[in-house]
């Protein structure tokens, strides 16, 4: 177990696919991706408006977390962290919710009061969605932090069990899930790629 604090945005990476996080964390391997770049440029162009606070950095030894909240909506009577997303599908993932939950936990500790919801802003649809943070979110975040801190470079996490994720995964070119399953089938045991190899050899 390391004493390193987990980055909130990595909660998202990890819950998307632990293997992808492993690549990022130990090997800094990230496929290049135009959307990421574009997303960043957009970020820079949107500055503070009204009752908003941009970029609040928080860290907590207690939680084992650190992270920068994009935007804080200081609203009327409650503070809401907002995470801006670029999602082609016009929807967000559960992994985005967890990231948001991570921010809420950090913010709670910082403010000393509870933060019960966050918001996801989607560029594509110019939509702001409110997400209540549940006990389940909180528990999952804590479990994940633990799992992430006990990862090691020697043990490669298995391929994902959901092939859809690979289609949108920026590490795919490096990960080579199907190729791995073909070259060394035992590496695909118990993953979404096991069946495929089985089918192909039939």
């Amino acid at each position: 177990m390391t004493s390193e604090l987990v980055n909130v945005s990595d909660l998202n990476q990890y819950s998307y696919c632990p293997r992808r996080y492993w690549y990022l964390h130990f090997y800094n391997t990230q496929g290049r991706n135009y959307y990421r770049v574009e997303g960043k440029t957009k970020h820079e162009n949107q500055s503070t408006r009204g009752n908003w606070l941009n970029e609040l950095y928080l860290e907590s030894e207690e939680l084992g977390l650190k992270g920068k909240i994009d935007v804080l909506d200081l609203g009327n009577d409650q503070v809401v962290p907002v995470e801006r997303k670029r999602a082609e599908s016009g929807d967000y993932y559960r992994s985005d919710e967890l990231q948001l939950a991570g921010y809420c936990l950090l913010l709670e500790e910082h403010l000393g009061e509870s933060v019960r919801e966050g918001a996801i802003y989607l560029y594509e649809t110019d939509q702001r969605m409110h997400i209540p943070i549940t006990e389940n979110h909180r528990k999952t975040v804590q479990e994940q932090i633990e799992a992430m801190r006990s990862m090691s470079v020697e043990s490669v996490p298995p391929l994902t069990d959901n092939r859809k994720k690979c289609e949108a995964c920026s590490a795919r070119e490096y990960c080579m899930p199907e190729e791995t399953a073909m070259l060394e089938p035992d590496k695909a045991t118990g993953t979404a790629f096991e069946q495929e190899i089985h089918n192909e050899s039939n």
């Binding site: 130990f26 090997y27 800094n28 391997t29 496929g31 290049r32 135009y34 770049v37 440029t41 470079v153 020697e154 490669v156 795919r172 070119e173 490096y174 080579m176 199907e178 190729e179 791995t180 073909m182 070259l183 060394e184 590496k187």
Partner: protein, 331 residues
């Protein structure tokens, strides 16, 4: 299976026009015709590129070099005639974990990787001859098996040497009328075919080298070629499996299709300026050309296939895969 969408194919750029300057402009890399009419010739999004090869009198603005450093873009310098002069290598080019694993490779692991590469080279040579209708290459088959099972590096080098001799002795038969190949000569190449082979090996070495750098492997620490100061041993090792399948096949194509003729050479057996330009654009096209991958069954460009081999090599080195799977063409 479907190949993943990538940008490998547009990631390498060749700049041959003399008197140009490469600059940066917003998020793009721009080539300006400084000596000519002062126009913008072409531009690329910075994220797309990983290698820029320049030939002769081309220069870089200082902000561009800083940008290249930041984005991990490798710059290779060649003379106008394609002789390699050196490279600019971005500083972020190390990932401790990869290097650690590479330095910690046991000699057994090194041998296993080297055997796979040389066996593929021999097999690919035999396949190339076979495709061109050269028969009676069973000896190469035996040598391939021997390479696969070599028990030490000297034995592997011996087998490789013997196979190369056999292979080159038959290469002549793949050439169209008017072209001959007697034996491999390097410094200097003694005939036009040898000259094209040498040039193509240099171009390929740089493809492999940029791939290795892209994935943070140390190109100077080889698994078979002896590590010598300034010699990119690992690039030379990995290049082995592409020598026959890609390089030699490209050279035979150039002459057999009449793209390059004897008149295109000067008295030192070097390509004349115009022919060299033709050569470069054909080489780049060849790298972008797609073929059906022998294992993965999808269509992939040669450049991407080379990058994939770098990835597979790195996976074998860091232990993510058990073996190195060389690119072998059996038909």
């Amino acid at each position: 299976m479907k190949a993943t969408e990538g940008m490998f194919d547009e990631s390498v750029v060749y700049i041959t026009k003399q008197g140009t300057q490469v600059r940066t402009d917003g998020g793009r890399i721009v080539v300006w015709d400084v000596d000519g009419d002062g126009d913008k010739l072409v531009s690329y999004p910075t994220e797309q590129l990983d290698t820029i090869n320049v030939f002769g009198g081309v220069n870089f603005s200082t902000p561009f070099v800083a940008r290249a450093n930041e984005h991990g873009i490798v710059l290779n310098y060649f003379t106008q005639h394609g002789k390699y002069r050196g490279s600019f290598v971005p500083e972020k080019n190390t990932i401790a974990e990869v290097r650690r694993a590479q330095y910690a490779l046991s000699s057994d692991d090194e041998l296993a990787i080297a055997c796979a590469m040389i066996a593929a080279k021999i097999r690919n040579g035999r396949t190339l001859l076979g495709r061109k209708g050269v028969h009676g290459t069973d000896l190469l088959k035996d040598l391939g098996v021997r390479a696969e099972n070599a028990t030490n590096k000297d034995e592997l080098r011996g087998t490789e040497g013997e196979a190369a001799e056999r292979y080159f002795s038959r290469l002549d038969e793949t050439l169209a009328d008017g072209w001959t190949f007697e034996k491999r000569t390097k410094r200097p190449p003694e005939d036009h075919i040898n000259s094209l082979l040498s040039l193509t090996y240099v171009m390929m070495k740089n493809e492999v080298l940029s791939g290795l750098r892209q994935y943070n492997l140390d190109p100077f620490l080889g698994v078979l070629h002896a590590d010598r100061h300034g010699k990119p041993s690992l690039a030379l090792d990995l290049q082995e499996e592409f020598r026959t399948s890609f390089c030699d096949a490209f050279v035979t194509r150039l002459v057999n299709r009449g793209t390059i003729t004897h008149d295109d050479f000067n008295r030192d057996n070097r390509l004349r300026d115009e022919a060299f330009k033709t050569y470069l654009s054909k080489f780049d096209n060849y790298m972008k050309e797609e073929f059906t991958h022998p294992y993965f069954d999808y269509s992939v460009s040669r450049r991407k296939a080379i990058r994939q081999q770098v990835i597979l090599l790195r996976k074998a080195i860091v232990g993510e895969l058990d073996d190195y799977h060389a690119l072998t063409f059996t038909r």
